[in-house]
Homo-oligomer: 135 residues x 4
């Protein structure tokens, strides 16, 4: 990786909203990361408190895609656009996002992201476009 | 509207994650809502604490699109997919999402969402597909 | 407009695939175009020859979004990504796409596109991201 | 597969627009297809006749995703929405789309599609949502 693990952890753990999410780095190598979202009651979406909010999952996807590219760029990259497909509800359980770099261009990068529940079922998939341009 | 304002407020204010976001209903009529996201330090995205996290904006977009359809359906609708385009950073400021229904079918509905900052500049736009099927 | 109508027509009518589509410029002003797709049997999608192929509609959307930005840039811009939502089938009828510029940045532009049938019903909507960078 | 190869070929080769595209079925198994788009001058996008039109690639992606689901459904499925990311220009060369089923639900299915050039480079990736509901 073009960035050491300590710097990745700093980028992941320092931002205020990441602290709310409680994100944990499970794995990081060139072009690939796994990030865990430990379950919190504050993530619940509905009156019956039965499933995790789609906005929380979108955030996990956005962050994971960004970090897949950060492994080669060593700094946070602005999200240009983001697409999320929700496949099944996430219950009161941890979620793990796996993100891989699909394109790493001079001005734009693309990452694909899959979010799984503890049973290994896919909860959501996402695709993010990030600005890799400097300055 | 097919749903009274009291019920809308209940659906908006009761979920745990909506409470974290602190969402306020600014306007609601048939097929159109405006929802305010009052600024909170917990939304910040970066080490320098300078802008709001894209995942928070995605959540605002998801909720606003859902509520545009809720004005005719009277109940929360599952998000099928969501697309967000980020146009400019959101600073330490309130954001307002305006969502309008584009399609309201028997099984699927589409809403378009625009998020603006206090200067009236567009921060992000989104398009959400929601399941309107019953049962 | 930063480009004259003659140049727009040249850009629209010269490419081989545009010739197959038979695209007609209905309207062009700064940041807005209307392009007509006259019906052709070759566009049909199904065994029963009853509706226009989604790929033809995606092409119309792509071209219209590009031309909305061409009104200010005066040259064809590469499409970065494209999203199309299909609302209802298009029958054996002309379609008209109206495209408007949503963002016109230094490196990226966004256009929103709506495709209507002769009854004024929306057949599809699209959103395209285009590279506006020079060189 | 829930459908025999002969029926797949019929569904692929009969529609008028598929005939224009000249699509060839390279491979078909449960949940996976490969479809070839043999190069034609009519696909060219630009004044210099140098690359294939993004709308043609979008059509190839749409068809391939549909056919991945057709391997289990045995009939054409309406496209609900489609997203295409363009990675590099396609030159005067054949393109091959590989599509795999990501979700196959009672009302909706998702397919992921990758389009490669003869060098094995990815030209575009797509994700399509299709209606699997009957009646």
């Amino acid at each position: 990786m073009a960035v050491d693990r300590e710097r990745l952890l700093q980028l992941l753990e320092r931002p205020r909203y990441h602290q709310f999410l409680g994100l944990k780095l499970e794995k990081a190598e060139e072009g690939l990361v796994q990030i865990r979202l430990p379950f919190r009651e504050d993530f619940l979406a509905d009156e019956a408190d039965s499933y995790v909010h789609g906005g929380v999952i979108a955030a996990l996807i956005d962050v994971a895609g960004d970090f897949a590219l950060i492994t080669t760029h060593g700094r946070g990259l602005p999200t240009v656009d983001l697409r999320v497909d929700y496949l099944r509800p996430a219950r009161k359980e941890d979620l793990v996002a796996t993100a891989t770099v699909v394109k790493n261009g001079r001005t734009l990068g693309i990452a694909d992201i899959r979010v799984e529940n503890p049973d290994g079922k896919t909860v959501a998939i996402g695709r993010g476009l990030y600005s890799t341009a400097t300055g």
